[in-house]
Amino acid sequence: MRLNKKTLRLVLLWISLFLMYRLADYSVSAAFLGAEPAGELFSSFAMFLFWLTFIATLAVTVFLLPYRGLGLLTMHLGCAATLLGGLLGSSAAHQYLYGGRIYKGYMQIGEGGASAEVYSAEGEPIDSLDFELVLEDFSIDRYQEDDESLRWELWSGLRAEEEDGERPTVRLDWREGQEIPVPNTDITLEVLEYEQREIPRPPGIIIIHSEPDDMVVLPAIVGREVQLPNSKKTYTVRQVFRGLRIDPETKQPVDDPSGGFRPAAVMEVAVEGEQTEVAYAFTRELNARMRRPAEQVFVPINKPDMETLAVPTIKFRFRRHGAVREKTVSPAEGLTHDVLSLEFMYEDPRAYAAAGEPILAIQEPTPTIKTYESKVVVKEDDRTVKRASIRVNHPLHHEGYHFYQTDYDHEGHTYTVLSVVSDRGMWLVYTGFVLLLFGTTWHCWFGFVVRKKGKGATPGQEDEHAVAE
């Protein structure tokens, strides 16, 4: 049997139709899986074979289509180039084709420091680059907020009795004098009055965790004290360090806020009838390194560009089935959040026990960040080859790698986290994009819509000659 071109094209079109349908089907399934499993699914060996089939079909199509117009040709060529570029840029290609070249990883560089080491997302070292990045400066710029948006946020949630801990919380969009329902409960709340005053911002708060159910939070302000509810231990803050440095000569701790040192606090612990003890609160990272469970942890809340901390006083009115209660809430001066249990709205705790105890958290708002910026210098053998400012949407490109602003030190703003991504296959993908876009525009707009318009035709009229007819 002679296989004529028309039959071949029909067969090809049906195969393409099937492949496109399959891919659409996989995509929809992947949407339900979530990004990470979807990524794994699409990078599997079976999918690799699917992609190859797809590209092969496109390639055959390209050879059979030329006489059907420039638009169709470039469009299909563009799809093939994009997919091929994607395959060449994949993690598998880096492993098998480029001899284990770094595909993707992260770098953490401290201010004034340099690094060439690339780590995996889990923190395992992968490899080092042939050049070094020096972080000259890291800075954060926030949006100027108006008074309204600097008011504390209200979050509602359920405190669960079981081990699995905190339930999802919902942020409430509140305004004074407006009644709003508290999600997951039959309670409504209304903010009757809201006032706040500003105090100098303390460097942090100290979380004291003596026994599983014996916990308090204390602001890191000298002289402040708190008593644990169960063990009756009293903690008094004696010294606060914005950056704790041990002086090499005197061997004494000194406060050095110049950066690079982590904050800490010294407290006095008094138990009735016993001698007082001294306790240190360090930030979590340091505690982890010291490998002992910390009774007290220092959580920094200082932000280099925010000098004050607001202390709100909120008067609430709660309603539930006709019962009305008013309550005024104000967190201890120097704390950034407070939690109010809504248990008092229920006469019988069994009314809410199944879902968990309803709570209302008030917390300091986080102003939206405008930009993060890492000023870096690229050095090869101690020779400066490039200077760049890396921001989100403005990566640095050097020696086949892109460096993206990904994360930073949320507490002291002293280091940055960059992600490193190899650029293999990039130019083929870009070429594919240009071809695809040119092809679709030419075919759909100029080919049919614009060119034929003058002859009084309608869009798509030229396409009336179906392949199967």
Partner: protein, 269 residues
């Protein structure tokens, strides 16, 4: 459900009212068979469109940037481009069914008017990009065109070949509009992938919204290929295939609102 007693809210409601009024006048005109009703409807539609442009402009003035930050804002944009699209398609390609556009215009404004919060949000670093406006605009214009094509497809399925005078038949209308909208759909997809590369380092992150956008692009492609094979031989199949693509588009657009269980990179829109 939230009623917005603000200037913005009033503009949205007035636009919706005008669009709906236009739609009903059009339908009544068709029932009584008087063409004058249609002219009145078009006038009311034009008035609604002026209000929609004002509403979008007011939002832009209020937020001091292109208002494409969330679904509340982009829906205002879609509501404002329906009328120019109607006129453009009628003049250039003889595509009718204006009443459908009025109805679509009212529907797309509904979420902005009653569901989404109009709270002003700042642009986070990832959204501060030259890609922001073209990526969203390409998608929204193409979605509006596809919605118009969807109206044609529904009419083909319900009314068959009984279309009005001076307009092309519904099957051709669907196909023509699909051809007009497809390059923009492709542009939106490409700009999104390119932006992803520049912002996060990956063309593609397998994020649910991305997967749905790919699926909808592919479904429209399936429709175009099927029509390339059979032409107009199976008009009802053509229309149905197109509508499946449109359903995928609607899910793509509203995905985060359908499912808060699947968070992703596009969680802001």
């Amino acid at each position: 459900m939230e009623i917005k007693l603000t200037v913005q809210g009033m503009l949205i409601y007035a636009t919706m009212a005008a669009y709906l009024a236009g739609f009903f006048v059009c339908v009544i005109g068709e029932i009584v068979g008087n063409r004058r009703w249609k002219s009145v409807a078009m006038l009311v539609y034009a008035l609604g469109a002026a209000l929609a442009v004002l509403s979008f402009g007011y939002r832009a003035y209020e937020v001091q940037r292109v208002p494409f930050r969330n679904l509340f804002e982009v829906m205002l944009f879609v509501g404002a481009i329906m009328f120019p699209l109607t006129i453009f398609c009628r003049r250039m390609f003889h595509i009718g069914a204006e009443a459908g556009d009025m109805f679509v215009g009212a529907i797309v404004l509904f979420p902005s008017g009653f569901v989404f919060s109009g709270e002003i949000q700042q642009l986070m670093p990832a959204l501060q990009s030259h890609f922001f406006t073209p990526h969203v605009a390409a998608y929204m214009i193409s979605y509006a065109i596809m919605a118009k094509a969807g109206v044609q497809a529904v009419l083909r399925l319900t009314k068959g070949t009984r279309h009005g005078e001076g307009v092309i038949d519904y099957e051709r209308g669907t196909y023509g509009l699909a051809l007009i909208g497809f390059p923009l759909l492709t542009l939106g997809l490409i700009l999104g992938a390119w932006w992803g590369k520049i912002a996060w380092g990956d063309w593609w992150n397998w994020d649910p919204k991305e997967m749905w956008s790919l699926a909808s692009w592919l479904m429209i492609l399936v429709y175009l290929h099927f029509r390339a094979i059979h032409g107009r031989r199976f008009p009802r199949v053509n229309s149905t295939l197109f509508l499946l693509g449109l359903v995928a588009i609607i899910i793509t657009l509203l995905w985060v609102n359908f499912s808060s269980l699947f968070s992703g990179l596009h969680s802001y829109a």
